[in-house]
């Protein structure tokens, strides 16, 4: 499992976005929005599935709805994995 810190999960999200070929993934910061990254619903589902597998968590549709930025995804992952950043 990757490093369970804010920086660790952020890097994991960047790596994952890069793997699904999102342009500019390596420069993503916590306040970067999906809109800015041009992440579509399919990209987001792929990212979430990868985070679920990596951190052995389950992210529900309700939890996913308010996730609009990279930071939202990082925080949610840390929360569900039982760590507060």
């Amino acid at each position: 499992m990757a490093d369970l810190t804010e920086e660790g999960v952020l890097q994991r999200v960047r790596d994952e976005l890069e793997a699904i070929k999102v342009p500019g993934a390596e420069n993503a910061e916590l306040d970067t929005t999906w809109e800015e990254l041009d992440v579509d619903s399919l990209d987001l589902v792929e990212l979430i599935k990868a985070l679920e597998d990596e951190y052995q968590i389950v992210i529900s549709d309700d939890e996913l709805k308010p996730v609009e930025t990279v930071g939202d995804a990082v925080k949610l992952t840390l929360k569900l994995a039982g760590t507060t950043a």
């Binding site: 793997a19 699904i20 070929k21 579509d40 399919l42 792929e46 599935k49």
Partner: protein, 231 residues
């Protein structure tokens, strides 16, 4: 290196029900095109699985990834029949057929589509049947499952087409296989403009084309291989 050869270096082709009949012919055709083919069979094949069991499908997908790597071509061909009139059709006859023919295809697709999405290239071919659109009595389960495959094909084409992954269906007519061996061919032929039943290789040729680099703009389509029977 050709565009297709690059893909063949990066991934394999999986054919469910690939050990007999149409599936075996499809596996041969894809091998002839340069693919490393992984066949899925209940008791034989490169990876063994009961396609009608979600647990088995999940385990098979894991085994494929471990032993053979990424999957860039998937042919959902596994199919069974449990014919009978609906009035007397048992839940298990209905369930077994739908589980194998339709749910199994969904399970394999879900399991391997991530490989294709990441590669920005993939080919999924669902082997449906002429009866999906031209129903006949005595096969409510089989026909519902095969019609379901056409719906699944369209839905997936819309979902993942933007990633260079195509999802198409073929609808074979009457083909010489174990499954049709008991049918009265002479009577059937009356309804087939070609005047004969088809060969597994003729279905395989259509699948091979849909899996080729050239077929990249064909998505969500249904290709009939039925000697004109459905025309």
């Amino acid at each position: 290196m050709s565009a297709l050869a690059e893909k063949q270096e990066a991934g394999v082709a999986v054919v469910t029900g690939g050990t007999r009949g149409i599936g075996a012919a499809i596996a041969d055709a894809l091998r002839a095109d340069g693919w490393t083919v992984v066949t899925i069979g209940r008791t034989s094949g490169d990876v063994q699985a009961d396609v009608g069991s979600p647990e088995d499908v999940a385990r098979a997908v894991e085994e494929i990834h471990e032993k053979f790597g990424k999957v860039l071509v998937l042919v959902n061909n596994a199919g069974i029949t449990r014919d009978g009139l609906a009035l007397r059709m048992t839940d298990s006859d209905w369930g077994d057929v739908v589980d194998t023919n339709l749910s199994g295809a969904f399970g394999f697709t879900r399991g391997v589509m991530g490989d294709m999405l990441r590669a920005r290239w993939g080919r999924i071919v669902n082997v449906s049947s002429i009866v999906a659109t031209r129903a006949q009595a005595g096969q409510a389960n089989y026909i519902a499952s095969k019609a379901g495959l056409l719906g699944l094909t369209g839905a997936l084409a819309k979902e993942i087409g933007k990633r260079g992954v195509t999802v198409n269906a073929i609808t074979p007519g009457f083909i010489e296989t174990d499954m049709t061996a008991e049918l009265d061919t002479d009577k059937l032929v009356e309804f087939i403009p070609a005047g004969r039943v088809g060969k597994p290789e003729e279905v395989a040729a259509a699948v091979r084309f849909l899996c080729s680099a050239e077929a990249g703009y064909i998505n969500g389509a249904t290709l009939s291989v039925d000697g004109g029977m459905g025309a």
